[in-house]
């Protein structure tokens, strides 16, 4: 007869599994939760070279939002982000739709569109820096073809430098969007296409009014992926423009690094990275609520 004291302690059930999950638990708690909380906490201090627990309220944030460099970074992120999103989705979808047309050499085309994704942002940034070089790159070539007054000098023009970064980013990232869209297109029941053909609906209308609405989930997933990588843009800017000319192509991620590790101003770095977190939360939380909140209902 078993007495109560002999029942095994639930803590020891699945002990091996629990031990094996220690890395995940540690990471989740210490790094993700703990690290984030720590940074947010210290953003309210005036840490300089080393973290110092001296609270100064919202001082760091006030300074942040009155620094031109930060304001330029935010503005750049906006422009870059929105354009990147729109163009990635449009170009990616168009490429996918074209590849879906049962064409020859589909594999070859897909390999060509996707290979930039395998490269580092540093590589991408440097090669486009060279291509956009005013003396040797695109501008020079077009001029030497006869259009003497052609000007395309993003790397030295404050107004359009962010577009130079955009071109490089699209070159690297649209391949991924294309792959996701293609997978979505391929999952559409072929009978829908047949029905539309019998109904006499032209191809472009079929895409616009039937197929794309059916791919809502794919678009949302892709959007989330693009958005989360937009906020992190750093390597590309460092390589292609180093934030220049001047501060014209600064981005928040670079602001964080420069102040945290080069400018000996940890407090500013913490405040800036907390702002970055906030911007992600603003995008992710509504999406998560829509996706998962609805399911539970």
């Amino acid at each position: 007869m078993r007495s109560k004291s002999e029942r095994p302690n639930p803590l020891f059930r699945n002990l091996n599994a629990k031990i094996a999950s220690i890395p995940m638990v540690l990471t989740a708690l210490v790094v993700f939760v703990g690290g984030t909380a720590w940074t947010m906490l210290y953003s309210f201090t005036n840490s300089k070279l080393l973290p110092r627990l001296k609270f100064v309220g919202l001082d760091q944030y006030e300074r942040l939002w009155s620094t031109p460099r930060w304001l330029v970074s935010i503005e750049n992120l906006f422009i870059y982000g929105i354009l990147s999103l729109i163009f990635s989705l449009v170009i990616g979808f168009l490429l996918a739709a074209m590849l879906d047309q049962k064409i020859r050499f589909e594999n070859a085309f897909r390999t060509i569109f996707l290979y930039p994704f395998a490269l580092s942002f540093i590589v991408t940034g440097l090669v486009w820096q060279w291509l956009l070089n005013p003396d040797f790159g695109v501008q020079h070539v077009v001029r030497s073809l006869g259009w003497e007054s052609f000007t395309f000098n993003p790397l030295y023009d404050r107004q359009i430098v962010i577009y130079g970064v955009l071109i490089a980013a699209l070159w690297q990232g649209t391949g991924l969007v294309m792959c996701l869209m293609l997978a979505g297109l391929r999952s559409i029941d072929e009978d829908i296409w047949k029905a539309a053909r019998v109904d006499g609906i032209p191809t472009w209308r079929t895409y616009l009014f039937i197929i794309i609405p059916m791919m809502r989930a794919v678009f949302v997933t892709t959007l989330v992926i693009i958005a989360s990588s937009i906020v992190r843009v750093y390597d590309l800017v460092v390589a292609q423009t180093s934030g220049g000319p001047g501060i014209a192509s600064e981005v928040p991620a670079k602001y964080v690094y420069d102040y945290m590790f080069l400018g000996q101003n940890l407090g500013q770095g913490f405040a800036a990275s907390t702002m970055m977190l906030l911007s992600v939360v603003i995008v992710i939380v509504p999406w998560a609520y829509l996706e998962f909140g609805r399911r539970r209902r």
């Binding site: 890395p23 995940m24 993700f32 973290p51 580092s120 070159w171 945290m260 990275s273």
Partner: protein, 309 residues
């Protein structure tokens, strides 16, 4: 004569005995095809151009580059830029080329890939087959954590690494890569193991096998494809990383990407564009080779990694 022809095709309602027959005539050069293949071709040029320019520039001598024909193939091929990029290019501090960064990257990538995959696969297996209280919560935190911008966690990790004493070493960077690789890899493995038939697992438990026994003898042998996908994702991601490389290393432990940036951007004076391009190409070569060799598996890796929940 016509009547005979008509009667021969029995029972046919005749509107036009010589009318359309067989496959619809399709001109290979139809408007649709021209637009389709034309656009794809133009797009392909846009995507291939930078690679072409990289290769071509890296094989020219500086005098030829100064002539300014960036798209023209080299009149005289020279491998000198490559040699220089590898062994003699100067970063701010020393002049022994990219080779140092290359070996650093190798020493960072291989352990990181092995360790992160080992940990994440066991984690994914535990989550999929041995659900225990609280597991889902930690996993959710992990996944949510994947969306947090790395910048927020940079400094706390610096402190942690300093305390352990590995800040600035290759080991420290390996640990960082493991930590940040965990969310996506654990998700990948968890989904994969969850998709394997339950009966295998239950039969093994009935046979008396334990946690590690089932993992090593049953799960692992069946998981080759997903391991390959994980290796592809991690190798590409870690080799291409820059942020962690620049934060958590010292000049003698810089990975290739950091060194590359220093060689090209941090150098004053005369820019040697051909050496720069050679260096860029060398850095991009490893992930490119992984890409071309892995083919369809690379695409599967993206799809798997991109599907978050």
């Amino acid at each position: 004569m016509m009547d005979d022809q008509i009667k021969a095709v029995a029972g046919a309602p005749i509107s036009d005995p010589g009318g359309p027959r067989g496959p619809k005539p399709r001109r290979a050069l139809s408007r649709r095809n021209i637009i389709l293949y034309g656009t794809l071709f133009v797009a392909a040029v846009y995507y291939l151009l930078p690679l072409y320019v990289m290769v071509v520039t890296s094989l020219k001598g500086m005098p030829e580059i100064r002539l300014g024909h960036i798209f023209a193939p080299p009149m005289e091929i020279t491998f000198e830029p490559w040699v220089k990029a590898w062994g003699k290019a100067c970063t701010g501090l020393n002049c022994d080329g990219l080779s140092r960064g290359f070996w650093n990257s190798v020493r960072i990538t291989i352990p990181s890939v092995l360790l992160s995959i080992a940990v994440a696969s066991v984690n994914g297996y535990a989550l999929a087959n041995w659900r225990f209280k609280g597991a889902e919560i930690f996993f959710t935190i992990l996944i949510v954590g994947a969306f947090i911008p790395y910048q927020v966690m940079l400094y706390p990790i610096v402190i942690i690494l300093r305390e352990i004493g590995i800040y600035g070493t290759l080991t420290g960077l390996v640990l960082v890569h493991c930590i940040f690789g965990m969310p996506i890899l654990t998700l990948l493995f968890r989904n994969y193991f969850a998709s394997l038939p339950d009966e295998l697992f239950r039969a093994a438990r009935v046979d008396g096998a334990g946690f590690w026994g089932i993992y090593l003898r049953i799960m692992l042998p069946m998981s080759l494809p997903i391991f390959v996908v994980a290796v592809i994702i991690q190798t590409t991601g870690i080799w291409n990383d820059f942020l962690f490389g620049v934060v958590y290393t010292r000049p003698d432990t810089y990975p290739m990407t950091v060194q590359l940036n220093n060689i090209v951007n941090a150098v004053q004076g005369v820019k040697e564009y051909n050496v720069n391009m050679a260096a860029t190409l060398i850095t991009g070569l490893v992930p490119l080779i992984v890409y071309f060799v892995s083919g369809k598996l690379f695409v599967r890796g993206i799809a798997a990694g991109a599907v978050k929940g």
